[in-house]
Amino acid sequence: MDAWDPSYGSSFEGGAEGGDGPASPSSAQVDTDVEVPAAEWAPIDASPAVRCPDVVFLVDGVRRNDAGLWTAEEDGTSYAGLAASYAAGVVRCDLARGAAELVGARVGRGLFTASPSAEDVQAGSVRYEVHRIHGTGEASKLPAAVQAPLTALEIDISSAAREMGASLAADDLLVVDGPLRNRRQLPRTIGYVKTQQKQYLPASLTTVVTSLRPGQRTPVFHLGTVWGGWSWYLRLPGASGAPWSGIVRVECSPDLAPEQAIELADVSVATLPRFASSAYKDPRAPQNLVPIAGLERRLRGMLGDSRVLHRALTLATARSR
């Protein structure tokens, strides 16, 4: 059995038979000889010398489509629009003090459309700013457009939170939910990938991944893709026993030296397992980390009630007609 709730899909996107791991092999160039030669690959235990940092920041964002709209242009044509709310927040887990607090959260709302005439929409007490997108603006493309401002918001907020806590702890760690992508310039930051879609490793090394025990990681390897970088797999505790359950891929900026990447890998093995969630509390356990789940709940709360917003948007658009 895969541990995840079926409605979330699977923790890996596999073939029909399942349990085989990520199905689609990646075309990316993979350098597996970074830490140890590929022939000597074996699971690596947490290094006893590496201590879990006292302060861990976790960043995540949530988004919600509040309403789909259609614009009425003067020439009689119509463009699709999407009113979306998104929020990003940072949790500062002070493990020494035993306090997890929300150190920054910001909510943004936008009206995503290709319409040249669209204006900001004031719906009740909130304002949806227009984000004009290029191209034809088909309705199906609009949700993807929300990701850009959300990522920007996440970067903003995590640097701000980092600055606030910089004086307090020098060896902090920033965990970003999802691949790093363009967030790689943040220092001491790892990207945390819950869902395995691509099989980066050759088949011979995949067995090393599936043979990981909880709290172990694979050696660091290098991905040669556009958003690539240093990466490694890690198995979290609380997995169900399926070969790929509890496996996450962690990555860090390619701008780092291999030694720094290996150090971060060791830190991640010491840190991440204690944040793993348990199956009865979280449908995406153990990959969905406890602070992230808490943060997402808080952020969703900050997005506001969807029914209220939907009604306000309906009223606002009806009035402007």
Binding site: C93, L95, A100, L102, K281, V290, P291, A293, G294, R297
Partner: protein
């Protein structure tokens, strides 16, 4: 009602996730602030085209919870520092006052202030009380008051105090209330002239009301000062005790207090002429009992035919010198076929007479020391508050149950009849009676219960105020409890607290009453919709021998006064000016 006072600080906002109603609403407490039970808060509601409405209330429940936690075990993750969560406190406010009287709910989001000074007085209706009697401090350390109108009979009277014996400090609160009435000056001349009749039923705790308490410390003194009361013992106290059993001189039966104690008893002549026989029987008015008929005819016969004879009485030409003699004589006459009909009437069968005789003989042991024919008649021996000191303490703790009932019944009857005769409500007479459930039980009738019911129902206009205490209000005659304007609750028994008699307590307060500390009472008065939690100071008078200071100088005299044949009936021990200049 004045507005929110300037120095009050915002403590939170009315929350909108629970219904806010005009009579009850929830407040989210600002992080860094706190609200505790009984805190007084005030908020405002702006209305179009009208002046704003001020809504004041007291905190009746507070809660804190983790927001952002879904499961109980999340608390460990939160304490561990892995799950972000927010601790949010909220307080339930029960409205005490809406001014002007427009019952609109407070708006969610409205700022809630802690009420101090005038705003607090207004919230608790103290500003509308013309005469207020301090009865202790609230949880916030500021005095709380009792509306004198509901104590002295102007708009209501009587106090009912309930609570577990020992920890509820019922008697202490009753005496403190009396002290406050006498000393606060709130009642003016009525307060100074008022009398109190206290029945001491347990231990000798109330025998030292006029002795200073040696354990009085600075903080207690400060508490009295805060209430604007002097921290002194009662000034004018007279203690009555029954005669020692088997002692022909009639010395008072007390062990710890040696000075200033007078003996009380009734002479046989008084027993006959005042028709006291029914008070010997617990159920003499019960219609189901056949023998009560005999009681009344014997009483009448005694009244008609007894002749005073040197302390005792003479009846049918026979001199009777003690209660035992009287009982023996009555039983003899009743069992004799020839005389039975003159004593008990003609239609009485032997079984009924025997029932009467059996009970009468049973009373001999208990009452012999109280109904005397061998002591000087002129000697002061009656309990009469009008001639006594400001506070009259009647010690009953050494007496058996039947004798206690007799003393309470006869004393109250006499006092009440005096008041009826005088026809005026002044001076006020406060009667403090513990274990009211024994004297006025919910079931059955008795002469004593009749007297107490009379006091409860008509005492208000005659100036007789009953301060009754009992462990369980549910066992006391309902009409007495319902006639009490002021209801006080100390620590309660859990099963007792669930009874409808305590319906005036909101659920949270009912729970708190289960763990109320000694010295904490919940006082419900008619013009405040929520009972107030009151902490009254430690008594400034001694409550037992070990903490008693030197006795007041006036009482020293009465060491010799105990059996003084020259004493004038009703002379007051306290005032040296009135002494006969021998």
């Amino acid at each position: 009602m004045s507005g929110v006072s300037d120095d009050s600080s915002p403590v939170g906002r009315v929350l909108g996730t629970a219904d806010a109603t005009p009579l009850q609403f929830w407040t989210a407490v600002t992080p860094g602030s706190y609200l505790q039970l009984d805190d007084v808060v005030v908020t405002k509601r702006d209305l179009p085209d009208r002046e704003p409405v001020t809504i004041a209330g007291v905190v009746t429940q507070v809660r804190a919870r983790h927001e952002g936690a879904q499961f109980d075990s999340d608390v460990f993750a939160i304490a561990d520092g892995t799950l972000p969560a927010l601790v949010q406190e909220a307080a339930e406010i029960t409205t005490t006052r809406v001014d002007p009287e427009l019952y609109v709910p407070p708006a969610p989001g409205a700022i809630v202030h802690r009420a101090t000074g005038e705003a607090r007085d207004a919230a608790l209706h103290f500003d509308r009380m013309e005469r207020r009697i301090p009865m202790g401090t609230g949880r916030d350390g500021v005095p709380v008051f009792l509306n004198a109108d509901f104590l002295d009979g102007t708009r209501g009277a009587h106090v009912s105090i309930s609570g577990i014996s020992g920890v509820a400090t019922k008697t202490s609160f009753a005496t403190f209330l009396l002290y406050s009435v006498f000393r606060s000056g709130a009642l003016g001349a009525d307060g100074t002239n008022a009398r109190a009749l206290i029945f001491n039923v347990k231990g000798e705790d109330l025998l030292f009301l006029d002795h200073p308490n040696t354990k009085l410390d600075e903080s207690t003194r400060a508490a009295y000062k805060l209430l604007e009361l002097p921290a002194t013992p009662f000034s004018d106290v007279r203690v009555y005790a029954p005669p020692r059993a088997g002692d022909s001189s009639g010395a008072p039966d007390v062990s710890s207090r040696l000075t200033g104690v007078d003996t009380f008893y009734w002479t046989l002549e008084e027993f006959a002429s005042l028709r006291l026989l029914p008070y010997v029987f617990a159920d003499a008015d019960d219609e189901r009992q056949q023998y009560t008929m005999v009681v009344h005819s014997v009483t009448a016969h005694l009244h008609r035919h007894s002749v005073p004879a040197e302390g005792g009485i003479s009846i049918d030409g026979k001199r009777l010198g003690s209660y035992g003699d009287l009982v023996d004589h009555i039983v003899e006459q009743l069992t004799d076929d020839e005389t039975r009909s003159t004593w008990a009437g003609s239609a009485v069968n032997m079984g009924t007479v025997n029932a009467f005789a059996r009970r009468l003989i049973g009373s001999k042991r208990d009452l012999a020391r109280l109904i005397r024919g061998d002591l000087a008649q002129r000697r002061p021996h009656q309990i009469k508050t009008a001639d006594s000191a400001q506070v009259t303490v009647v010690d009953l703790h050494n007496l058996p149950d039947r004798a206690q009932r007799f003393v309470v019944g006869v004393t109250l009857k006499t006092e009440f009849e005096e008041k009826e005769k005088a026809g005026t409500g002044r001076p006020l007479l406060f009667v403090v009676l513990d274990e009211l459930n024994k004297y006025a039980p919910r079931e059955g009738t008795s002469p004593i219960k009749e007297v107490l019911l009379d006091i409860a129902e008509r005492g208000r206009s005659l100036g007789v105020i009953l301060i009754g205490a009992q462990q369980t209000a549910s066992e006391v005659e309902r009409r007495i409890v319902t006639n009490s304007a002021i209801r006080v609750v100390g620590r309660l028994d859990p099963a007792e607290a669930a009874r409808p008699e305590y319906g005036f307590l909101p659920p949270a307060m009912r729970q708190r009453a289960l763990l109320a500390r000694p010295g904490t009472m919940f006082v419900n008065q008619p013009d405040i919709p929520v009972p107030l939690c009151v902490e009254f100071p430690f008594p400034a008078w001694a409550t037992r021998k070990s903490e008693s200071g030197p006795p007041p100088s006036e009482t020293m005299k009465s060491i010799v006064q105990g059996a003084d044949p020259f004493a004038v009936v009703g002379s007051r021990a306290g005032s040296s000016d009135d002494d006969i200049p021998f």
